[in-house]
């Protein structure tokens, strides 16, 4: 049996593998749903905020490095997503469907705010909501659509760590 830490590592590796698979499956037609973001939420839900926030930051950093992008862009995105997850979890229940929808919607917006914050800091004029809405909106819709199934799979991986 794997220890809890190795289970979380496995969860993230599976998320990256699935992300690659879905990207290849959808091709150019749609931006792929953000499975790494969903796996990060499942991961932070199973640990305390003091461990969850740095872990979310590290997963984002890995995503930046794998994307040959600016280190910090996704790292801060996932950090803010995790933080908003913890904040919203105090208001609604993550285990209930309505609460899950609120948390997913709120943390998804927080993720993109984090990405755009770093883009603003680096003065990347091309990364602005007016030009990226065609990525953000379909990605959000597909992510929310696939969330029930993806969260169930990711939770099974993470729950075995308990």
């Amino acid at each position: 049996m794997l220890n809890p830490f190795m289970r979380l590592v496995l969860l993230i590796v599976v998320a990256f593998v699935l992300q690659g698979f879905v990207s290849g499956l959808l091709g150019d037609a749609f931006p792929p749903p953000d499975l790494i973001y969903l796996a990060t939420l499942v991961m932070v839900a199973s640990v305390s905020p003091f461990l969850g926030l740095p872990l979310a930051f590290l997963v984002g950093l890995l995503q930046d490095l794998l994307s040959a992008g600016y280190p910090g862009l996704h790292a801060v995105g996932l950090l803010l997503a995790a933080y908003s997850f913890y904040q919203l979890s105090r208001l609604v229940h993550w285990e209930e469907l309505a609460g899950q929808a609120v948390i997913l919607g709120g943390s998804f917006v927080a993720k993109w705010l984090g990405v755009l914050l770093i883009a603003l800091w680096l003065q990347l004029g091309q990364f602005n909501p007016l030009t990226l809405w065609s990525v953000i909106v379909p990605e959000m819709l597909l992510t929310l659509l696939i969330a029930p199934l993806a969260l169930r799979v990711f939770r099974q991986l993470a729950d075995r760590s308990k």
């Binding site: 990207s23 290849g24 995503q63 990226l132």
Partner: protein, 263 residues
Amino acid sequence: MSHILWRRILLAGLLLLGLLLATVTRQSAPTLPGEFAASIAPLFGFSYRLGQNTRASLAALFDRRDLRAERRRLQVELQQLRQENQRLTLENRRLQATLRVQAVQGLGVVAVAPVIDDDPSGLYRRLFLGAGSRQGLRVGMPVTTANGLVGVITEVTPNQAVVRTILDPESRVGVRLANAPGRGIAYGAPPRMLRVEIAPEASVKPGDKVVSGAIQGLYPAGITVGTVERVLPTAPGALKKVLLVRPAVQLSLLEEVQVLRPL
């Protein structure tokens, strides 16, 4: 001190770390992410290929109608293709000789490289090639296919390279209209379009071809970039006309690309 305060301090600290990392790596180590991604790409590239193959299999499954008739048709086609193959072998020899001349006198193909992975983010549009500096690839080399322009190499390791495609939000390509006067710049507009800004006087309509056109840019002039799909309405007094262009190359289906000598 309360947990909430510590949590906020942790958030602020990580936020600052993110800003610091982004700043330092952009100014001091800009090639670090590219080198890392190129090294790791083969590990996760298999799942991307698996997704591509699944999509192709599903398409084949849905498109299939009559296998027996298809088989007969394919057998006839096979015979024709064998004949054609012999003819093409001879023609290939002739064209290879032509290519050798072109390589000496003008822009030559440095390498034919396999595409091994796509980036795992919907934000960027980058490709990872299974060839690197050992195969002669260098940063700044244009990447193309027979159908049209793909992008430019931005990072190279001994056996891998990262390509910033023309759909990437950071991509800029100097373009001109193929059949009418007018120069402009094509910006990447993911997920699958290009946004071209051109002089308002240019006469352009949907269906017109756009080709690379900068005399001293990153890309050789005259390579097909895409086809105009929409011409956005121009406001009175506007300094630019905006076109939405569909790229000539379907990036998700790429298996091999040609890398050209840099300008």
